[in-house]
Symmetry: C2
Subunit: 332 residues, 2 copies
Amino acid sequence: GSAISTAVCKNVVNGEFDEKVHIYVYDELVRSNYLSEVINERHENIKYLPGIKLESNLVAVNDLLEAAKEADILIFATAHSFIKPYCNILAGKVKSSAYAVSLIKGLDHIRDGEIDLYSHAISKQLNIPCYSMMSANSAMEMAQGKLSEITIGCNDATHAQQLCNLFETDNCKVFSIDDVDGVELCNTLKDLVALSAGFIDGLRLGENARVACLHLGLKEMMRFIKTFNPNTKLSTFLESCSLANSVASSYADKNVTFAKCFVTSRKTVQEIEANLLNGRKLLGPIVAGEIFAFLDKGKMHDKYPLFTVLHRICQNEVPPDAIVDILRKHPD
Amino acid sequence: GSAISTAVCKNVVNGEFDEKVHIYVYDELVRSNYLSEVINERHENIKYLPGIKLESNLVAVNDLLEAAKEADILIFATAHSFIKPYCNILAGKVKSSAYAVSLIKGLDHIRDGEIDLYSHAISKQLNIPCYSMMSANSAMEMAQGKLSEITIGCNDATHAQQLCNLFETDNCKVFSIDDVDGVELCNTLKDLVALSAGFIDGLRLGENARVACLHLGLKEMMRFIKTFNPNTKLSTFLESCSLANSVASSYADKNVTFAKCFVTSRKTVQEIEANLLNGRKLLGPIVAGEIFAFLDKGKMHDKYPLFTVLHRICQNEVPPDAIVDILRKHPD
C-alpha cells in the first residue's frame, strides 16, 4: 500500500486528479505512537516501509469511511481477510461514480468448493466497477525507485488510461490489458508456482527441476484460468502479471521459504507460520486448499496434478517428494 | 554430449535401435592418457563430466567418419565452430536414410548481416533431415539423474517418436513440437536474455528489474523468431525450450557471470574471457553481434532495443547502464 501510494502521490499533482491521497491505516501502536500520526508527521511508514520517504500529499486516515467516502478511485491493497469487513463498512457510502482497483491476492471462498474473485465481491458489494492490478514482486524495491512493472486488468478504456497515468513513473512501467479476472488469478495462482518451487528447493532437486516445475506450474495456471474465465487470451500469460511474477516468486518469495522449511524441518504449516511469520497466515497453503476443494468438486484433479499435490503435501497426506512423481508423469 | 549419451545408451538396449552408441571424441591428452581410451576403459569422461558413470555400450571413437558412417541417427552436440569442419568431413559419407539432431547453439554467419541456422547447414551439407533439440540448462544435473526436460523440434512424426523413445527417461521428460527453427532459435537467443539479466545483476538493479528484463527479452525473442520463421506458434514460447530455459539462464549461466563481471570490473569482453573462461569464447556476445548486424541490415533496431543495446554494451560503445533507459522506454 505505502509503496504504491508513492507513485500515486507523485502523479496526482499534475492536475488530472485531486492532489490529496488518503491512505487508510489501521491504528496500531508503533513505539508508543499511533501509526497514522507517525505517517502524517514524519512522512514515513516506520513499521511496514521503514526508511522510505513518503510524499507530503499522502494523508493517513484512521477511519475507513472518512478515507474513502469522497474518493473517485479506491485502491484495495490489503490482506484478503479484511476485504469483507471493509466492504461492509463502505457499502452504500462511496461515490456512485467511483471505481475500485484491487491488488488483493487470494480467492473468495463462497461455499464448499466454490470460489470467486475479490474484485467481483468488491464490485458487487459497493456497486461500482472493480479492476485488478498486480504490482511488483518486491514492494521495497519499488519504493526505492528501482525498475519495476505493474499489470492492470481493466475492461474500460477511459479508466485504464487514468490508472496508467496514476501509476506509471520513470521507473515503473504500467501495462494495461483487457482482462480483469486473468490478472487477478495470475496474482493469486503464482503463489502455487512458488510453493512448488520451494518444495523442489527443499528436496535439493536442482535448477532444472525448478524450471520444470515453473513450466508445468504455469501450464496448470493457464488451464485453470482459461477454465475459470474462458475469455482470457494466451497473451495475458506472456505479460508481467503471469510469467515474470511467477518467475520472481519461484526464486524469492515467502512461499518458497516456507516450502523449503516445510521439507527440511518436517514441521506442520501452523508451526512454521508461528516461527517464520510471527503467527501470520501464509496465503499459499490457503489458496492450495481452496483450489483443491474446487478441483475436487469438479472432479478435475487429474488435469491439475501439481496444484492437487501441493495441498496434500501441506496437509501431510503425502510426503513432499510426491511432487517428483507428479512432475515425471505430468500430462502437459 | 556425454550427459545426453547416458539417456541414449540406456534406451537403445530395448531393441528398437542398435545397442552400440558411438561418441566422437577429439583425442586430447588428459593426465597423459587419450580421452577416448579413458572413456572406453573407465566408462567416465574424466575431463568434461567427472564422477559420472557412463554406460558400457557407449563407445568413444576418435575418428569422426568412423563414428558416424554407419549411424542411423547423428546427434550433434558440440560448439558451433566445429560444425562446418565436421560436416566437410562427413559430406557424402553418411547413410542416405540417416537423420540428424542438432543441439548446437549459435547462428551460422553466411555473409555480412545475414544469418542462418546450423540445422539448415547440417541438413544441406549432409543431404539428410536435421532436427533441433534443447536439453537441460545443467548437463551435470541431467547426468546425475536429477529431473530435467528436453524439447525437440521435429516436423516428421515418425522421427519425433523415435527421438522421444531415445531420450526420455524416468527423470527426463521429452516434449516434441513441430517447430525445428523455433526450438533452435530459442536455444540460441536465450543467451541474450541471460546477458541482459547479468547486466542488471551487475548494476544491482534488483529482482523486479531482472524479471522485467526477462519479460521484455522474451518479447523480443518471440518477435525475432516470428519474423525469422513465421510458422512458429505462440505455444512454442510456452514450452521448456523458450520460457523455462530462458528463466534458468537468467539466474545461473556463464553469460550472467560474464555480464556481471563486465559491469563490475570494467574489463573488455576479451579480458574477461581470458580470465573467466580460460580464453574460450563466450557465445552470448557473439550472438549479440550477429543479431546486431542482422537488425542493422534490416533497419530493425527500434523494434529490438534490448537486443541492440547488448552488442553496444559489449563493444563499449555505451555504458552498461544504458540498459536501464531501454527497459524504461521499451515499446512492448
